[in-house]
Symmetry: C2
Subunit: 341 residues, 2 copies
């Protein structure tokens, strides 16, 4: 698959759930460039990632419908006449899922049925690409992790995301609603929520560096992660949405360069020109659901779609730091604009 | 572990959800014999398996509380002061889960959180044994299937059961609520629902044989299954409930003798002295979620608890046929008593 997957989106009716969120809004920018008819559905639940500033500059070229994917009749209406649905709405905090497992279940598990039932009954020819997560694997048996690894989540969020993913495969296989899942590792870049620290550590680290504060690393910082720049993640969604070969399959979508927390923060501080690191004890609530080192083998997705990450970690961090410096108050409204260096 | 696991239940406070159902009521009989304080919780949802006749003969030695596990406040109350909970309440029809995925989700997935949250907040020292299912494996990659096989369900029921099971492991690992899951294969025996054919084929086959009717086999009858007599299944629950080594683990609980549908029905017809077989085309709705041949490797559970199935298929079928002949109208109330041979 070469560049023609991009052509496919011209004049195509696309819907993105979680469309005002981090990955959703970056994907929307790409789709607008490609000439798609873009419908963004977002509940704008406070503190969950949706942010109207995320579509600054493209707001007049997309349609925004504020709605909650938990609402069956709303979804029944919205899925009609869409060619491709990118299912990115989700509750992404692992810690929140342990405090309030029901809300996580409603959003990550039950609502996936809501969208899929809407498709089954009102638009069965649609293609759905689900934003899965490497969290479903839990603590890996060996590294790198490919799709043959057991699904064995360590927290409620991972369980509900696994169920949500599995619904897509069953609806693909049984009801003919074309669907696949991308198991994303750590995605980072502009437009991520950095207001609080409950949605993954990378955005939070970037914020602390910009604010010249101490980044707290749990343990010795040796744990490995792989990172995907958000434009590369958006490209993965575009490719999956255009590929029939992806239907009924799950794919890891991870970065090429696993890196320790120690090296990551050193790079970030160098790129930002400020910030510091402090090593601290693991908080018990986080240690209990920690997965240790993780990095993904994305060979299956690369082979199927030709995808490959294009943005290096150093480049990606540079672009991200620049973005938040320019727009800090849009993402951290309660605090003063970060000093620009 | 020898016979002392039985001693452990004397005067112990036990709760069985789905306690008026098939496996639950047989387990209750064993617990009454062992001198346990037995609380049976059942919603008595019509057509779901709960049947007051199932406790005929022990009704004065158990406490029955009609309640739905979906009710959080009810569960908060009922779990208090229980030493062991056997979580057997479930929606067991694969076909129903595809027609009405939400009810299956509420019962098999969300309600497991309800019970576990009740334990976490009101009785964290309890031990919970969850009735899992081999359905979570989907179509096996190879046979026999052990616990290292991927979880890849082919229907909504299997997805929700997998999520329900995973909650138990996370609550064990993170919140200290001791829990494990038994992935049961085809359990058969007295007190199973045989009123309709949507809860597995084995009870339905037995009913048809007793009524001297034609048993319909889909395809050529070569598909393999393993069977567990309900007393052996009850013994598995007793052992798991008494074993700390089981905590945080999943176990296959299957039969020792895989057998084809063809040979199974021949044996059943011989045991019953009546009935016949008719080979028919697969209905599309069933073919779409069929898992092909399946039999489990239960080595892990045997090694951990000393369990081994004691009742052969021929013996088990004989006892089952005798039971339903004696009590047919209690299980198929709308039809005349089966002629006794």
């Amino acid at each position: 698959m070469t560049a023609e997957y991009r052509e496919l989106y011209r004049d195509r009716a696309v819907m993105i759930t979680g469309g005002l969120g981090f990955i959703g809004s970056n994907l929307a920018r790409r789709l607008v460039e490609l000439g798609a008819d873009v419908l963004l559905v977002d509940s704008l639940i406070p503190d969950s990632g949706g942010n109207l500033f995320n579509i600054d500059g493209i707001a007049d070229r997309v349609r925004v419908n504020v709605a909650d994917i938990r609402q069956q009749t709303t979804m029944n209406h919205l899925v009609r006449d869409r060619d491709v649905i990118f299912s990115l709405a989700g509750q992404v905090s692992h810690i929140d899922s342990m405090r309030d497992p029901y809300t996580d279940l409603e959003i990550n598990c039950r609502s996936q049925l809501t969208v899929l039932e809407a498709c089954r009954n009102h638009n069965p020819k649609v293609k759905v690409v689900f934003a899965g997560t490497r969290q479903v694997y839990g603590r890996p048996d060996s590294l790198p992790v490919d799709e043959s690894h057991l699904v064995r989540p360590t927290d409620v969020n991972g369980i509900n995301k696994a169920a949500g993913e599995n619904y897509h495969l069953v609806y693909n296989n049984v009801f003919g609603v074309s669907a696949c899942s991308l198991r994303l590792t750590n995605v980072y870049g502009p437009r991520q929520l950095i207001k609080h620290d409950r949605q993954g550590f990378i955005g939070w680290f970037i914020r602390l560096a910009i604010q010249d504060q101490a980044i707290h690393i749990y343990g010795d910082g040796s744990q490995l992660r792989d990172f995907v720049y958000v434009d590369d993640a958006a490209d993965a969604f575009l490719r999956a949405g255009a590929s029939d070969a992806c239907n009924g399959e799950v794919f890891n979508v991870g970065g090429d360069e696993p890196i320790s927390h120690r090296d990551l923060t050193a790079l970030l501080i160098k790129v930002a020109g400020r910030g510091s690191v402090k090593y601290v004890e693991w908080p018990a609530s986080k240690k209990a659901i920690d997965i240790g080192s993780f990095y993904a083998d994305s060979t299956k997705f690369k082979r199927t779609t030709g995808w490959t990450p294009a943005v290096s970690l150093a480049d990606g961090l540079r672009r991200t730091v620049e973005f938040y410096r320019a727009h800090f108050s849009e993402y951290v409204p309660d605090e003063p604009e970060a000093e620009r260096l």
